[in-house]
């Protein structure tokens, strides 16, 4: 190779973790309770809501990015916040992608928990909220899976990150957008190398979560 990557790959990697990690946490804090509620309660339109959630698995990242772009552009309704082309905008766009995945997998997981468990807990005098919490605990492995899938989606996507982040060196450049940049510049080897870094990071996060799970910390 004739020239080296001039930007700080460590910082790019940390930013990837920060953006996608935040989006996963935010998306899970919204998606898990949402999915649990939908999975446990019976109500009219539940089937439709589930269909919509599963459909959103296919939500294109660029569209999520465009949506956040229009909302937070200076010409958009929330332009005064000035968060476009910052990591915050990237977190929001990725959160939109994470929520349906986390919610959908949570719906499936809690639906598979024996309905009797909830009824039993309720008959023992638990409140509705306590009963829900018990069911989530029973479906815990599924919920963790949901969160991991959400993280996988966030760390791997490039469309939203590029659209609302802008791939600004030192500010909004993450692993996926630098892979795109290197590919565009014809540095295929660097792009592959950065892809390996991304997979190693993802592997580290998943191993860490499994480690927590095995020790029943999660």
């Amino acid at each position: 190779m004739v020239d080296a990557i001039t930007y700080d790959v460590v910082q790019v990697t940390l930013l990837s973790l920060y953006v996608s990690g935040s989006a996963t946490i935010l998306g899970s804090l919204i998606g898990v309770p949402l999915g649990a509620a939908v999975g446990l309660k019976e109500f009219g339109g539940k089937g439709l809501l589930k269909t919509i959630t599963y459909t959103m698995y296919g939500f294109p990242p660029v569209i999520s990015g465009l949506f956040i772009y229009y909302v937070f552009s200076r010409s958009g309704p929330l332009g005064d916040f000035g968060i476009l082309f910052t990591p915050t905008a990237m977190i929001l766009a990725q959160t939109l992608l994470v929520i349906p995945l986390v919610a959908g997998v949570t719906i499936t997981s809690v639906s598979e928990v024996d309905k009797n468990i909830k009824n039993t807990v309720l008959s023992l005098g638990a409140s509705d909220r306590q009963a829900t919490f018990t069911v989530i605990k029973e479906a815990w492995v599924g919920v963790i899976t949901a969160v991991m899938i959400g993280f996988g989606r966030a760390i791997a996507e490039v469309g939203a990150a590029y659209m609302v982040g802008g791939n600004i060196e030192g500010k909004t450049r993450v692993l996926t957008t630098s892979i795109m940049l290197e590919t565009r510049m014809g540095h295929f080897e660097y792009a592959m190398g950065l892809g390996a870094v991304l997979l190693i990071v993802a592997c580290g996060v998943f191993l860490f979560m499994r480690w927590l799970q095995e020790r029943e910390l999660l």
Binding site: V2, D3, T6, Q11, L14, L15, L17, Y18, G21, S22, I25, L29, S73, R74, S75, G76, G79, G82, L84, F85, P87, F133, K137, W140, G166, N167, I168, E169, G170, K171, L181, T183, R184, M185, G186, H187, F188, L212, E216, L217, L218
Partner: protein
């Protein structure tokens, strides 16, 4: 997961960790200038070479958003950038006329080149000018001997390509997709696709991207078959976004940027810039954008090409 407290602990731990990572990942704030530009200025390495000088002189950080010229102007139109560095003259003039930009100042130029396979089935090395070359590709394309790969993404290069077809008296909408590929991709990807059209593929490319791709060995079968027509002139200009329309833009810093970019020192930096393979890619020509520019610039381009082909 046995009781409630570890769960809360884990969530808190995760948030703390993320904030910790974030504090390392996000640099301290400084005065920032948002520059929306075309990909070729970034991908060629020009911006990396010259921007540090501006950043230290003006004590600021330039946030470079490298997208197609079309998208860059859309970002400017929405007030999301302070200044634009683009290469799509007709749309730029409209942009300023519509009041989205305050002024259009020429910065530097290079040329577009028509690239194709060494065997040159369309015979464009014999072409007398750019439109003649395009007509030859069209004729061979309809006969199945050539393929033209188009950007098809409203970028500066795509806009230029369309204008050459129009000048040649041909209507793109009548082109068959058996030989005219509208890809919607960036220049690098389009060159890769062209390379794969064995002994048939032609495209219009900016010099910078072609040389980078060529030297890294990704497109070994493509070469420049036609260049030198003033029609293929590629002018880069700088446009500050209008602060009357978007009060949030950093107009002072944008003006500083224009003045710096057109200053003699920066202009010679641009002229002396070479990519990683030693190609000089930009010819500085700072000056106001005007009706006379094409005439004035065409003689400059002829001179430059004469030097380069020596």
């Amino acid at each position: 997961m046995k009781d409630k407290s570890p769960l809360v602990g884990v969530i808190v731990l995760a948030i703390v960790m993320i904030l910790l990572i974030g504090s390392f990942a996000i640099p301290p704030s400084k005065q920032r200038l948002v520059l929306a530009t075309t990909t070729s200025t970034q991908d060629s390495g020009l911006l990396d070479a010259i921007l540090p000088d501006f950043e230290s002189k003006s004590d600021c950080i330039v946030d470079v958003i490298a997208v197609g010229s079309g998208q860059a102007m859309e970002i400017g139109q929405n007030g999301d950038a302070d200044v634009l560095l683009v290469h799509s003259p007709a749309s730029e003039k409209q942009f300023v006329k519509d009041g989205y930009g305050t002024s259009r100042t020429l910065v530097a130029y290079n040329q577009f080149v028509i690239v194709g396979p060494t065997s040159d089935p369309a015979g464009i090395t014999q072409a007398v000018n750019a439109t003649d070359a395009f007509i030859r590709i069209y004729q061979n394309g309809t006969e199945g001997d050539a393929v033209f790969v188009s950007r098809g993404d409203l970028s500066g290069t795509h806009t230029k390509e369309k204008s050459v077809w129009v000048k040649a008296g041909l209507n793109i909408s009548t082109f068959s997709d058996t030989w005219y590929f509208s890809t919607g991709q960036g220049m690098g990807a389009v060159l890769d696709i062209t390379e794969q059209q064995t002994d048939k593929g032609y495209t219009l490319s900016d010099e910078a991207t072609f040389y980078t791709r060529r030297e890294t060995g990704i497109i070994p079968h493509l070469e420049i078959l036609y260049q030198g027509d003033t029609l293929l002139f590629n002018q880069y200009s700088v446009i500050p976004v209008n602060p009357d329309r978007w009060p949030n833009v950093n107009a002072t810093l944008a003006t500083d940027f224009v003045n710096w970019l057109t200053s003699p020192d920066t202009q010679s930096m641009i002229g002396n810039f070479t990519d990683a393979f030693g190609h000089k890619l930009f010819v500085p020509n700072a000056g106001p954008g005007s009706a006379a520019e094409t005439h004035r610039l065409s003689s400059q381009l002829q001179a430059a090409i004469a030097i380069r082909t020596d």
